[in-house]
C-alpha cells in the first residue's frame, strides 16, 4: 500500500510538472521572454511541492499510525489482563494481528478475537487515512502551486530556495544519524543501569560476565554483569592485531614511499588495496577454518596447548586486516612531508635511511600516531573476525593462546541468542554504548592530531 502510494504521488508530481509548465507556456504565449521564470521552473516548483507534501504526509502518517494502533491496542490488552507481563501482551498483539490478517496464530481466544477485530478496523482506518491524507496533501499542493503560475511569479527563486532547504536537510541526516545512535544506545543503557541500581563500578570492574543468568523481575544480578573480562579480551586481541599491523604497515609505507621503484609500487599498492577490500567475514572464515587449526596443530607439535579459538588466531588475522589501513594512512602522511625537508637532509650528506629516521618520521609522527589510533578503534569495533574465531566464554587472561571473548562477540551473542529481546537488549546496548564511546574518543583524538599536524606545513 505504502509503496503504491509512493508511486502514485510521484506520478501526480510529474503530472503537476507538465500542467504548470503548459500553463506557463500558455501565459507566456507569443512573448515567452516576459515570464520571470522559464516554464520548466514553474513545473519544477509544482513537482517539488507535490512530492514534499505527499511524501511528507505519507511518512508522518505511516509512523504515527503504526504507533497509534500499537499503543492503543496494547493499552486495551493491558486493561483486560493487568497482571500479565508486558512480553505476553506483545505476544497477544502479534497473535491478534495474525488472526486479522488471516494467518495462523498459536492460540485463539475471545480476547485475541476481539483485539483482532479492533486491529482490522483500526488498520482499515489507517489505510484510508494514508490514502486520503497523502493524496489530498499532494493534490492541494499541486493546485496551490498551479494557481500561482503567472508572468511575474518568481518560480525559479522559489524552487531554488526549496532545493537549498532539501540540500540542508540531506546534509543534516548525518546529525540525525548520530542523534539516533546516541538516543537508542543511551535509552537501553539507562534501563540497564537502572536494573543494577546504578552500580556502575560493578559493570566496569566486575570480573564475572553472565548477565542473563541472574534476571529476576526486571532486575539483573549486579554481581554477574562485570564486563572487565570482555574489555581485557578486546584489549588482548587488539594488542596482538596492532603488533602485527603497525610494524608491517609502517615499514611497507616507508618502503613504498621512499625506496620502491615505480614498478614495485604499481604492484604492491593495488595488492594492499585488495587486502583492504576483502570483507571481514572472509577474514573470519580464514581465521576460523585455516589459521586457528594450523596454530593448534603446530602448537601441539611442539608440546604447547593452543585453544582452537585462541586470541592469537583472531588477533593475527585482525592485524592482517588492518595492515592496509595503517599503511595507506601512513603513506599519506609520509608523502605529505615537504620534499624540501628531505632534500635538505640529503644535501648535507645523510643517507636515505637517516633522512627517513631523523627527518621524515619525526615530522610525520603525529599523522602516524593518528593512523595507529584509527587502527585501534577499528580493531576494537571489528565484529566478524572475533565472532567467528574468538571464544564465547568470558575469560580474564593475558595468555594469547587461550580463548577470550570481546565486547562485539557478546553483543552478537546477546542479540542473536534465544533470550527474549527486552532482557538481552539492556546488556547488549550498554556494551554497544561503551564501544561507541571508546571508538569516538579515539577518532576525535586522531582527528585532532591530524588537524594540528596539517597546520604546521600549510
Amino acid at each position: 500500500m505504502v509503496f503504491t502510494l509512493t508511486l502514485v504521488i510521484f506520478v501526480l508530481a510529474v503530472a503537476a510538472y507538465m500542467a504548470s509548465r503548459r500553463r506557463a507556456l500558455q501565459i507566456g504565449g507569443d512573448a515567452p521572454a516576459t515570464l520571470h521564470s522559464r516554464p520548466s521552473y514553474h513545473g519544477l516548483h509544482s513537482l517539488l511541492w507535490v512530492l514534499i507534501a505527499g511524501w511528507g504526509i505519507l511518512i508522518v502518517l505511516v509512523m504515527f499510525g503504526n504507533w497509534w494502533i500499537t499503543s492503543s491496542l496494547m493499552s486495551d490488552i493491558g486493561e483486560a489482563l493487568p497482571d500479565k507481563e508486558y512480553i505476553e501482551h506483545q505476544l497477544i498483539l502479534s497473535d491478534a494481528r495474525a488472526i486479522s490478517e488471516g494467518r495462523i496464530s498459536s492460540v485463539s481466544d475471545p480476547l485475541r478475537e476481539r483485539i483482532a477485530g479492533r486491529f482490522s478496523t483500526m488498520s482499515a482506518v489507517h489505510t484510508w487515512a494514508l490514502i486520503v491524507g497523502s493524496l489530498g496533501a499532494a493534490l492541494l499542493a499541486g493546485y496551490l502551486s498551479y494557481s500561482r503560475v503567472a508572468v511575474e511569479w518568481r518560480a525559479r527563486n522559489h524552487s531554488e530556495n526549496v532545493i537549498r532547504s532539501i540540500l540542508l536537510v540531506t546534509a543534516a541526516i548525518a546529525i540525525l544519524t548520530t542523534i539516533g545512535i546516541i538516543l537508542s544506545l543511551v535509552f537501553e543503557t539507562f534501563r540497564f543501569f537502572e536494573a543494577i541500581d546504578w552500580q556502575l563500578h560493578k559493570y566496569l570492574f566486575g570480573t564475572t560476565w553472565s548477565p542473563l543468568s541472574g534476571v529476576f523481575e526486571g532486575k539483573l544480578d549486579a554481581e554477574k554483569v562485570g564486563a572487565l573480562p570482555l574489555f581485557a579480551g578486546t584489549l588482548l586481541i587488539t594488542a596482538i592485531a596492532m603488533l602485527v599491523a603497525v610494524p608491517v604497515g609502517l615499514f611497507a609505507a616507508i618502503y613504498l614511499s621512499d625506496f620502491a621503484s615505480s614498478s614495485v609500487r604499481s604492484v604492491a599498492k593495488p595488492m594492499l588495496e585488495v587486502l583492504a577490500g576483502i570483507p571481514t567475514v572472509v577474514y573470519g572464515f580464514f581465521a576460523a577454518i585455516t589459521l586457528a587449526p594450523f596454530l593448534r596443530d603446530s602448537g601441539e607439535a611442539i608440546g604447547i596447548q593452543v585453544a582452537s579459538e585462541s586470541a592469537l588466531a583472531a588477533g593475527i588475522v585482525m592485524g592482517i586486516m588492518i595492515i592496509p589501513f595503517i599503511s595507506s594512512l601512513s603513506d599519506d602522511v609520509i608523502n605529505a612531508v615537504p620534499q624540501t625537508l628531505r632534500d635538505g637532509s640529503l644535501a648535507v650528506g645523510a643517507t636515505r635511511a637517516e633522512t627517513i629516521r631523523q627527518v621524515v618520521l619525526p615530522a610525520a609522527l603525529p599523522g602516524i600516531v593518528s593512523a595507529v589510533l584509527l587502527g585501534i578503534s577499528r580493531a576494537i569495533g571489528e565484529t566478524m573476525i572475533v565472532v567467528m574465531a574468538a571464544g564465547q566464554g568470558a575469560n580474564l587472561t593475558a595468555n594469547p593462546l587461550e580463548a577470550v571473548t570481546t565486547v562485539t562477540v557478546q553483543i552478537v551473542a546477546l542479540i542473536t541468542g534465544d533470550t527474549e529481546a527486552s532482557t538481552a537488549a539492556g546488556p547488549a546496548f550498554t556494551l554497544g554504548f561503551t564501544l561507541f564511546v571508546m571508538t569516538l574518543l579515539m577518532n576525535m583524538a586522531a582527528q585532532r592530531l591530524v588537524a594540528k599536524y596539517r597546520e604546521r606545513y600549510d
Binding site: 540540500l167 544506545l185 608491517v248 570483507p279 571481514t280 572464515f285 565484529t383 554497544g432 569516538l440
Partner: protein, 598 residues
C-alpha cells in the same frame, strides 16, 4: 622546525681520522640496507597473507565445484507410490517417492540388512532426490508404473568420498593365490599363497603405536592437570575449596593412569611379533575384492585372515589369481563414510552408475539444511535487493549533502558540526549501526525484521559518510573557473552547481559510490543485528520479504558442522569476491575513462 635549539643525538666521531670514514660508511650503508629489507619483508608478509587467504578459500571452494549423481533404474510402482487412478494430477507429486528410492537402493544391494546398514544404504542418496523424482513424475504422469533411468543426487557423504575428502582407497600389490571359504555363518577364512598381507599388517601395527602415542600425549595433559589442581589446592583458602580441588586432582590422576594403561595395552598388542592382529574401526580398514564382491578383514596375519562379506561373493574361492587388496588411509571411526558405503560406492563406480557434473544447483537453489541441496540464489537475490535499497537512499542523499557542504554551506558552527559528525560516523563500528537499526527502524518505525528494506536502510546510513566524503572530493576537484563562467553568464548558484559542476564531478562521485557499495555488500555485522541470520528457504521477491544476504550466508554456513558446508562456504565467498572485484573494476574503468585533470 621548533626544536632547533635542542641538540640532536648524533654519534660523536673522530673528524680527524680519514681511515674511520670507510668503516662508518659501511655501518651507515648497512643500516640503510636493513631499513630497506624490513620494508621488503613487510610487503612480503602482506603478499603472503593475501595469497594464503585467497588460496585457502579457492582450494576449499574447489570441492563444491561439482556434484555427483547415482544413475539407476527405478520402478515407479503405483502401489509403492500410493498413487491410483483417482489421484488428482496435482497430488501425484505427493506420492511416496522416498519408498521408491529406498526400493531402488535395496535392489542394487540386497545384502544390506539390519537397521544401521539399511540406514547407511539410504544415506548414499540425498534426501532431496526423492522430491526431484516426484517433480519429474508430476510433469509426466504417464511414467507411473514404468521403469525409468533416473539420476539421484548423491548425499554429501557420498559426494565427499568421491572427492577423496575421507582419504583414499589404496591398492596393494598381491602376488599369491587367494582362497576363501566360509568357516561359520558370516565368518570367512581367507588365505593367500604368499605373504600378501605382511605390508598391511605392518601398517596396522604402526597405527597401534601411533594411537598409543596420542594416548600418552593425552595422559601427559592429565598429569599437567594433576599438578595444577594440587598446586591450587595447596593455595586454597577454605577447606571446602581444597577438598574439591583435591578431588579433581584425584580424578585427573585416575584418568591419566587409565590412558597410560590403554597405551601400554596397545603397544603390547603391537609388539606381539608375527602373530595375528585384530583390526577394529579405530584402525585402517582392509578390503578384498574377489569373486564379484567385497570382503572386509577383521583379523589377519601375514598370509591368512578372517573377514566378513560386504557384498555378494560367490563362495568358495580356490587358488584365484584375479583379486585385489585395498586399504583405506583413514580409520572408519574418524570418517563419516562407513566401509559398507565405500564398497557400495566403489561397486556403483565400477558399474558406471556414478556421474559427476558441474554444480549448477549451487547457483539456482536457495538455502537448505542439507549441504548437497544448499545454494546461494536466495542470498544473491537478497543481496541485490538490499543493495538496491542502499543505493536508492545513500546515493541521492549523499550527493545532495555533498553539494550543500561544498557549494552552499555558510562557514558557521552548524556546518562545522555537520562535518565533524560525518567524519565521526565514518569511523563508528558497523555493529553500532546494526544496534541503531534494531532500536529505531525495527522497534520504533516497525520496518519488517530480516527484510532487505531494513538492511538497506542500515547499510545506507553506514555508506553515507563514504559517499559524502568521495562526492565532496570530486566536487572540489572541479576547477572554480567552470562555476565562475556559469555565474558570469547569469546562471544562479543552484543552476551553476546542478548544470555545470555536478555533471563534471559525476564520474568521481560514481567511483566513490561504487566503492562504498562494495563495502556495504561485504558488510555482515549490522545485518546480523537486524535479524538477517534467520534460516530462509524461499528466494525473496520484494524488499519486505525475509531474506538473507551473501556475507551473512557465509557466516551461517561456516558455523555448520557438516564438512560439505565448508566447501560451500568457500564457494559463496568466491562468488562474493567475484562481485566485489567486478564492482571495483567498474570503478577503475569509470575513473580511467571519465576522470579529467584540469
Amino acid at each position: 622546525m621548533s626544536d632547533m635549539t635542542s641538540q640532536p643525538e648524533i654519534e660523536r666521531f673522530d673528524h680527524g681520522s680519514i681511515t674511520a670514514v670507510p668503516a662508518r660508511l659501511k655501518k651507515r650503508r648497512a643500516s640503510e640496507f636493513r631499513l630497506k629489507t624490513y620494508g621488503i619483508i613487510a610487503i612480503s608478509i602482506a603478499a603472503l597473507a593475501l595469497v594464503s587467504l585467497l588460496w585457502s578459500v579457492v582450494f576449499k571452494a574447489s570441492y563444491a565445484m561439482t556434484e555427483h549423481y547415482i544413475v539407476a533404474d527405478v520402478t515407479l510402482d503405483a502401489e509403492t507410490l500410493e498413487i491410483d487412478e483417482d489421484t488428482a494430477a496435482d497430488q501425484i507429486v505427493r506420492g511416496d517417492y522416498d519408498a521408491v528410492t529406498t526400493e531402488m537402493l535395496r535392489d542394487l544391494f540386497p545384502m544390506a540388512s539390519g537397521r544401521t546398514e539399511r540406514r547407511a544404504l539410504k544415506d548414499l542418496v540425498s534426501g532431496g532426490a526423492a522430491f526431484e523424482l516426484g517433480d519429474v513424475v508430476a510433469a509426466d504422469p504417464d511414467l507411473v508404473g514404468e521403469t525409468v533411468s533416473f539420476a539421484f543426487l548423491a548425499s554429501d557423504v557420498t559426494d565427499l568420498y568421491l572427492k577423496n575428502e575421507y582419504g583414499r582407497l589404496v591398492e596393494k600389490d598381491v602376488s599369491g593365490k587367494l582362497s576363501v571359504s566360509e568357516a561359520a555363518e558370516g565368518d570367512l577364512v581367507i588365505s593367500t599363497s604368499t605373504n600378501d598381507f605382511a605390508e598391511a599388517l605392518e601398517t596396522v601395527k604402526r597405527h597401534l603405536y601411533e594411537d598409543a602415542d596420542s594416548l600418552r600425549v593425552k595422559a601427559a595433559r592429565q598429569a599437567n592437570a594433576v599438578s595444577v589442581y594440587t598446586e591450587r589446592a595447596e593455595a586454597a583458602e577454605t577447606e571446602e575449596d581444597r577438598a574439591t580441588l583435591m578431588a579433581k586432582a584425584e580424578k585427573a590422576r585416575v584418568a591419566e593412569q587409565a590412558l597410560l594403561d590403554e597405551a601400554a595395552a596397545l603397544e603390547d598388542r603391537a609388539a606381539g611379533a608375527g602373530g595375528s592382529e585384530t583390526v577394529d574401526d579405530e584402525n585402517i580398514s582392509l578390503l578384498i575384492k574377489a569373486g564379484g564382491g567385497w570382503i572386509r578383514l577383521s583379523e589377519l596375519n601375514r598370509s591368512q585372515a578372517r573377514g566378513e562379506m560386504l557384498t555378494g561373493v560367490s563362495l568358495p574361492i580356490e587358488n584365484e589369481t584375479e583379486w585385489q587388496f585395498f586399504t583405506t588411509t583413514m580409520p572408519e571411526a574418524s570418517r563419516k563414510v562407513s566401509d559398507n558405503q565405500i564398497v557400495w560406492i566403489e561397486t556403483l563406480r565400477e558399474r558406471d552408475q556414478i556421474e559427476e557434473v558441474f554444480n549448477w544447483r549451487f547457483f539456482t537453489s536457495a538455502d537448505s539444511r542439507a549441504p548437497e541441496l544448499a545454494g546461494i540464489r536466495g542470498a544473491l537475490v537478497g543481496s541485490l535487493l538490499t543493495m538496491l535499497v542502499t543505493f536508492a537512499l545513500a546515493f541521492p542523499i549523499g550527493v545532495l549533502g555533498a553539494i550543500y557542504l561544498e557549494e552552499f554551506a555558510p562557514k558557521n558552527r552548524f556546518t562545522n558540526f555537520i562535518e565533524v559528525n560525518i567524519n565521526n560516523l565514518a569511523a563508528v563500528p558497523s555493529i553500532v549501526f546494526g544496534l541503531l537499526g534494531l532500536a529505531v527502524f525495527l522497534n520504533v518505525f516497525g520496518v519488517p525484521r530480516s527484510a532487505p528494506l531494513a538492511g538497506g536502510i542500515v547499510l545506507a546510513l553506514m555508506t553515507l559518510p563514504t559517499i559524502i566524503i568521495a562526492a565532496r572530493a570530486a566536487i572540489q576537484a572541479v576547477p572554480p573557473s567552470i562555476r565562475e563562467a556559469a555565474l558570469g553568464v547569469g546562471a544562479s548558484n543552484v543552476q551553476a552547481s546542478f548544470h555545470h559542476v555536478l555533471p563534471l564531478a559525476m564520474p568521481g562521485i560514481l567511483t566513490g559510490t561504487i566503492i562504498g557499495m562494495a563495502q556495504a555488500l561485504g558488510e555482515t555485522a549490522p545485518l546480523i543485528m537486524i535479524g538477517m541470520v534467520a534460516f530462509i528457504v524461499e528466494v525473496p521477491t520484494s524488499i519486505t520479504d525475509s531474506a538473507s544476504v551473501l556475507p551473512v550466508q557465509v557466516f551461517r554456513w561456516s558455523d555448520f558442522p557438516e564438512r560439505a558446508f565448508e566447501a560451500r562456504t568457500a564457494a559463496a565467498i568466491c562468488v562474493l569476491l567475484v562481485f566485489l572485484v567486478l564492482m571495483n573494476l567498474l570503478a577503475i574503468v569509470l575513473r580511467r575513462r571519465f576522470e579529467r585533470r584540469w
